[in-house]
């Protein structure tokens, strides 16, 4: 049975921010290019995020728990610090990494109260680096393999249209599932580590919080993502989402929460390279890369500042 604690609101807020920001990575290209309607996209996205979190979200909890032996209050400061950073990025319409914000915030709080553990950090950082590279390779190979298959089928314009539309919806659902499975640990991992939530409640509350963000505040970022990086045709959009989803899903199975935004950028670059890169706006991709570097630093500073502020005591 879940016992309500106001501390959990920090996690719900973080989950909401994550959902609002990261739904763009799975349905953004399809919605912004009007291949799938927004209400259908968000409904499917929310449903599959909850399914992913509930069925495969447990592995990442241990990784997040391994970064800090946090108390309930420290967990809340980390969650709120990360959420504030993500909200800021969302308002600025910059897709950012929730995983990096959460890890940055945990480390920030851990450094202040002396509970930070760095043993698992190396694995997490390696996975962060591996995410865009893996997505890039998957997208480049997937684009070539899929194109070979499609061209052999010699489908007419109308049949190709139907197949791509259906595939975009299915890949978006898979992307949402992978997002839920991988990122739920970011939302409630700290509460699981602090003992406030059981493993089961962590995945359910985390999944529902992310879904809430998708349903209520994802439209602007979703449209911005699709339009700002590269003008994608339907087939390229499909390859990008599939490569991103497969990459994130692999890390969900390994148990390391990674950035879906980094996976999307990697996949877009992969498709861009196959298509001789003329369509990729490297400036936009570079701006987002800077955003990701800033995210863990800002989240760490914000979380540490909240922690310090909350522990200020008047000494006469």
């Amino acid at each position: 049975m879940l016992t309500f604690s106001p501390h959990l609101l920090g996690g719900v807020y973080l989950g909401w921010s994550l959902g609002a920001n990261d739904a763009a990575n799975v349905f953004g290209t399809a919605v912004s290019s009007r291949m799938v309607r927004y209400p259908i996209a968000v409904a499917l996205c929310a449903l599959f995020i909850i399914a992913g979190a509930a069925l495969e979200g447990r592995a990442g909890m241990a990784t997040i728990a391994g970064l800090s032996a946090a108390s309930i209050s420290s967990a809340t400061f980390a969650a709120v610090g990360a959420a504030l950073s993500i909200t800021l990025m969302t308002i600025m319409r910059i897709p950012s990494s929730t995983s990096q914000a959460v890890v940055g915030a945990i480390i920030g709080v851990g450094l202040v109260d002396g509970t930070a553990k760095f043993s698992g950090l190396g694995k997490v950082v390696i996975c962060w680096i591996g995410t865009p590279i893996g997505a890039l390779l998957l997208a480049a190979l997937g684009y070539r393999a899929g194109a070979w298959l499609f061209n052999r089928l010699r489908l007419s314009m109308l049949v190709t249209d139907a197949v791509l539309r259906a595939a975009l919806v299915v890949s978006g659902c898979y992307g949402a599932y992978a997002l839920g499975a991988n990122n739920v640990a970011n939302v409630t991992g700290v509460y699981y580590a602090s003992g406030l939530l059981t493993l089961d409640w962590s995945v359910w509350l985390g999944g529902l919080s992310i879904a809430l963000g998708v349903l209520t505040y994802s439209k602007e970022v979703m449209l911005a993502v699709g339009r700002s990086i590269v003008k994608l045709d339907a087939y390229s959009a499909l390859v990008v989402v599939l490569a991103e989803a497969a990459t994130v899903h692999v890390y969900a199975m390994i148990g390391v929460p990674v950035s879906t935004s980094q996976a999307v950028i990697g996949a877009v670059l992969g498709v861009g390279l196959v298509k001789q890169a003329t369509a990729v706006k490297f400036g936009a991709a570079g701006r987002m890369t800077l955003g990701w570097i800033a995210t863990p630093l800002i989240a760490g500073l914000v979380a540490a500042a909240i922690h310090l502020f909350a522990h200020l005591r008047y000494v006469p």
Partner: protein, 221 residues
């Protein structure tokens, strides 16, 4: 109803509308051909006037189907990119019917009587125009069948290209003969305009055929 048909319901509907449009479009081309034949043999007879009316009706009918297709496309059937492609293709086909009809209206409304010695050249232009239309219709159907026949589209495109060059040659011959002869200047301009109008049908056919070939390449990933 098979599973494929359920899956492709919207696409099948658009496909059926395009087929209906092509039927109407071809009917218009055929009445245009017979109207010209009648004119070249009988002049501006009642028969000719009737066939001009029939051409106009066929063109209006094709226009109605074109509007149905547009409504279906803007009712969110198909991906946005495909919608724009189909819309553009139909517009190009429609432009061609406009000139076919205009050539007949010019003859009827401006009371044009073509000189006997020029008629074989006009006849040639009409025959080439119709040949272009037949290849064009085939090309569009090849693009919209379930498994696209890119080779068929390319071969139809080549035929149209050849016919267009032939039409250009005939049109030059016609203009040269008109202005070498001793006709009234006003008539010379009228005769030339009718020839140019017929020549434009093959020009538009070539442009539409190129666009269709581009579509078949574009949808090849």
């Amino acid at each position: 109803m098979s599973l494929t048909n359920v899956f492709l319901r919207k696409q099948r509907h658009v496909q059926a509308l395009i087929a209906r449009y092509l039927d109407g479009w071809m009917a218009c081309v055929r009445t245009f051909e017979s109207a010209w034949e009648t004119f070249l043999t009988q002049g501006r007879s009642d028969d000719f006037n009737f066939q001009v009316e029939q051409t106009h009706k066929a063109e209006s009918h094709a226009d109605d189907v074109r509007r149905l297709i547009a409504r279906e496309l803007y009712g969110k059937a198909l991906l946005p990119e495909s919608r724009a492609d189909i819309h553009e293709m139909i517009s190009r086909l429609d432009r061609l019917l406009g000139d076919a009809q205009r050539s007949l209206f010019d003859l009827k409304l401006q009371h044009i009587d073509l000189p006997e010695e020029l008629k074989p050249l006009y006849q040639k232009l009409v025959t080439i125009s119709v040949r272009c239309c037949v290849h064009l219709e085939k090309s569009v159907r090849l693009l919209f069948i379930d498994r696209v026949d890119a080779d068929g589209v390319i071969s139809a495109n080549k035929e149209i290209d050849k016919a267009e060059s032939e039409a250009d040659f005939v049109q030059c011959q016609l203009v040269d003969r008109i202005f070498s002869a001793d006709y009234d200047t006003a008539n010379k301009i009228l005769y030339r305009e009718v020839g140019i109008c017929l020549g434009r049908i093959t020009d538009y056919s070539e442009s539409a055929a190129n666009y269709i070939m581009l579509l078949s390449i574009k949808h090849h990933i």
